[in-house]
Amino acid sequence: METAYRRDEEDAVSACVLDDMVLLYHRRSGQTHMVISPVPEILERMVDGETVTAAAMHDRLARDFDLGERAAAVAEIGSHLDALVALGLVRPA
């Protein structure tokens, strides 16, 4: 059973792109996070209200990026999604 993730309107972040990282302000928690790839790319490819698995997110990213070996990449993307869940930016579906 694959873990699924979702993001809702209430999880919205305000983003600011700096020259060396991206800043996210998470409105619901009032927290600010400094993030680097692949987090901004993952968040960009989530759609509010829709669920996505790590594998599906991998495939979305793979259209634009070289991710290397698939199984390892899916695992890594899953870790990033879990980190986002821990911070409240994404929810488990």
């Binding site: 020259d19 993030v35 680097i36 790319e41 599906a56 793979a62 634009d64 990026f65 990449a73 980190a83």
Partner: protein, 141 residues
């Protein structure tokens, strides 16, 4: 709906055959390595004793001198250290970063370099007691 995973090699081959200068696909992950955290959060530290708050100092930025490098774990090391990335002098416009996020490569950077830089930021945040100085006065929401 999942699409078939694109084969990176055939993609590159196609790009080459097309003749026009296609942007090489930027590598996004370390591929096989344990996923490193890509997030550092701004956190107020636990309140310190009042005396230290009133007398607190925010330590000197311990940034390397011009020409120092940043190792993958975020430590500042002498320039030329194998495996380390140039520490300063990186300045990309917001526009370049946005384009990179759309798949065009950020000039001269790699996933590892980004990770090294974030690790540097993370170390700074943990290491500086200034973090517990004025930051300790902030109440988390």
């Amino acid at each position: 709906m999942s699409e078939p995973t694109p084969d990176p090699q055939s993609q590159e081959a196609q790009a080459g055959e097309a003749g026009s200068p296609a942007p090489s696909r930027r590598q996004l992950l370390m591929g096989g390595a344990v996923a490193a955290s890509a997030i550092v959060s701004i956190r107020p530290a636990l309140a310190n004793t009042a005396a230290s708050v009133l007398n607190c100092t925010i330590p000197v930025p311990d940034q390397g001198r011009a020409g120092s490098a940043i190792a993958p774990n975020g430590q500042v090391v002498p320039a030329g250290t194998p495996g380390a990335f140039p520490g300063t002098g990186r300045s990309f416009t917001g526009e370049q970063v946005k384009q990179a996020m759309r798949g065009r490569p950020l000039p001269g950077t790699s996933y590892e370099q980004n990770q090294a830089y974030l690790n540097y930021i993370r170390r700074l945040q943990r290491g500086t007691s200034g973090f517990t100085c004025y930051a300790s006065l902030q109440m988390p929401r």
